[in-house]
Symmetry: C2
Amino acid sequence: MDSTATSRLLNSIHVPTLLLDEARARRNIQRMADKCRKSGTLLRAHFKTHQSAQVGDWFKQAGIIAITTSSVRMAAYFADHGWNDITVAFPVNWREIDSINALASRIKLGVLVESIETANFLRENLTAPVNVWIEVDTGYPRTGIDWQNNDTLVALAQNLQNHPLMTLRGLLSHNGASYACRGHADLRAFWADYVARLTSARAALEAHGIHGLSISPGDTPCCNVINDFTGIDEIRPGNFVYNDLMQVINGSVTEDDVAVAAACPVISKHPERAQVIIYGGGVHLSKDHYIDQLGRNTYGAIALPTENGWSKIHQKSYVISISQEHGIVQCDPETFASVNIGDLLIIIPVHSCMTADLLKSPITLTGETLDMLVLSAP
Amino acid sequence: MDSTATSRLLNSIHVPTLLLDEARARRNIQRMADKCRKSGTLLRAHFKTHQSAQVGDWFKQAGIIAITTSSVRMAAYFADHGWNDITVAFPVNWREIDSINALASRIKLGVLVESIETANFLRENLTAPVNVWIEVDTGYPRTGIDWQNNDTLVALAQNLQNHPLMTLRGLLSHNGASYACRGHADLRAFWADYVARLTSARAALEAHGIHGLSISPGDTPCCNVINDFTGIDEIRPGNFVYNDLMQVINGSVTEDDVAVAAACPVISKHPERAQVIIYGGGVHLSKDHYIDQLGRNTYGAIALPTENGWSKIHQKSYVISISQEHGIVQCDPETFASVNIGDLLIIIPVHSCMTADLLKSPITLTGETLDMLVLSAP
């Protein structure tokens, strides 16, 4: 690490800014890529966390060739940056059919279907070939067909077959209930169930003569702790590239695996309540929060800038409250004493997907500003 | 209202989009401007809610000449759009001193100070004239000097006097505790206290020979219900231009005064749980939520598109949960039956400041896309 460059970078920061430790992010990518290669599993990494062309390049350099996005616009951005095999892991939005067709005509596009209505819509409105995934609800009731609802699964799969522009590829599921797990044993048991449910749904389809389907599970908490994915066609974790406090508290990583942090100017100190006020609020960090190990409702953890990035977390201090532009940091006496108005405080985010989406273009510790998807007016 | 234009607009929407009812926003502006004019009070409207040059023009047309922003960058945006008298209602961020000086050299800039350290910093680093406001904490302990802390108030006011580039203008306070009030009587009592505390702090300074200071309170819940501001130099509400569910639940307005709503495509219907899933999640609506009149934890209220905008709120339905891109709407049977995949559902935001900041450029019901501050990489 070029510590002079990092110091220069920190000195140049005027407003809340997302810092990105490239070495950590590359290590996170490499670790997941290695596990997948050894398992014979495709890592179709979800890119919604970073949304950055250059971070995408780091994945390419680790041998990743297929990705996931959470929107059609995000898929178009990465198609513009050379990605040729993209699944949009969000049920088809009929209103974007023109964009879907345009994208399908230039890359290998995967789409998600979870209703007969949408299958019929695609039959009538597609003009270019797509890979189709059926979304399965494996215990996180948001979108998807319940994994035990064989009748609907079979009817939908049959509907999706025998159309010249649709290739039914498999069963895809995001089971976000894994975020409630705590510890490796809990996550491993959760993963076993999760995969078993997808496998069971696939078996039900096979029993009706529908063969050759892949399964695509994958969420960061589980994929961080599972080392062997043998038998699983592809996984789609995304958050692991950056990680965050949610991953630390579920035990899937340590704080040394968190690759992003928000650098926030210190605006004010209030000794009578041991609080430091930072320029860094809901429009920068998001209002995501969680109950930490000490039972505190936390909007972010606290670290100090160092020559090479940022320090270990100061466990006794935390972001206690947040408004649009202000963050209030409840401090232990040592942290309070070590911070002055005009300094930068480092906030480790609760949920890096949301913080990265708000702060946009991250800056690496060597001072490189990365490109990131910015949505213009609709 | 041109209903053909509205229908055309709604048909053209593909992704989550902020709709703006210009007539309602202009009515909200006019009402506040009229009350201030009658009271002899300056309406220094806070522009953090809309952040839009054109909405700013509507204020100009209502006679408003002075504004508030929540950041230096937002002040620079409005200075670029012809505003010449701007207070940044956020304590001076030392790291932005170059931008502050640049702005102060071209407009009448007001800055906020709440510590001796920052007063000293300004004494040494200002290169252009500024108006200075002391921030007072009148019962919302975030930033500001406690209104009863006379020693510090006097010391700070004395420090800020007698500097060639600083003009001490007065005492400014944002008392966000008003958001916990319910009903007009509650808000009126709150406002009386709030103003009395600022007046008392001013009297303490007068007792020490510091005369001629203005007071600047102002938050939307109170300013929506107070009709007579006589004796108050200026007020700084902002949210009132759009309003939102928070203002409806505190009783300061009705739903007919809410000028913005998010149009979100319907992605999926799950009859077994009476839920409709929309394309509209935390990155669009924010994760702000509140407990509504029925005790439900709500992320947004539901309406349907109409020829002229949107319908009354469907009280029995609501946004029950939100993730990054998905919103889950718990529906009553009638609402569920009246919505189809591919339709738009209208979400009335809990907190319009956050939703507008996320969705960016609003579209008026006649189809005009408005400009809005977009922060580039730092």
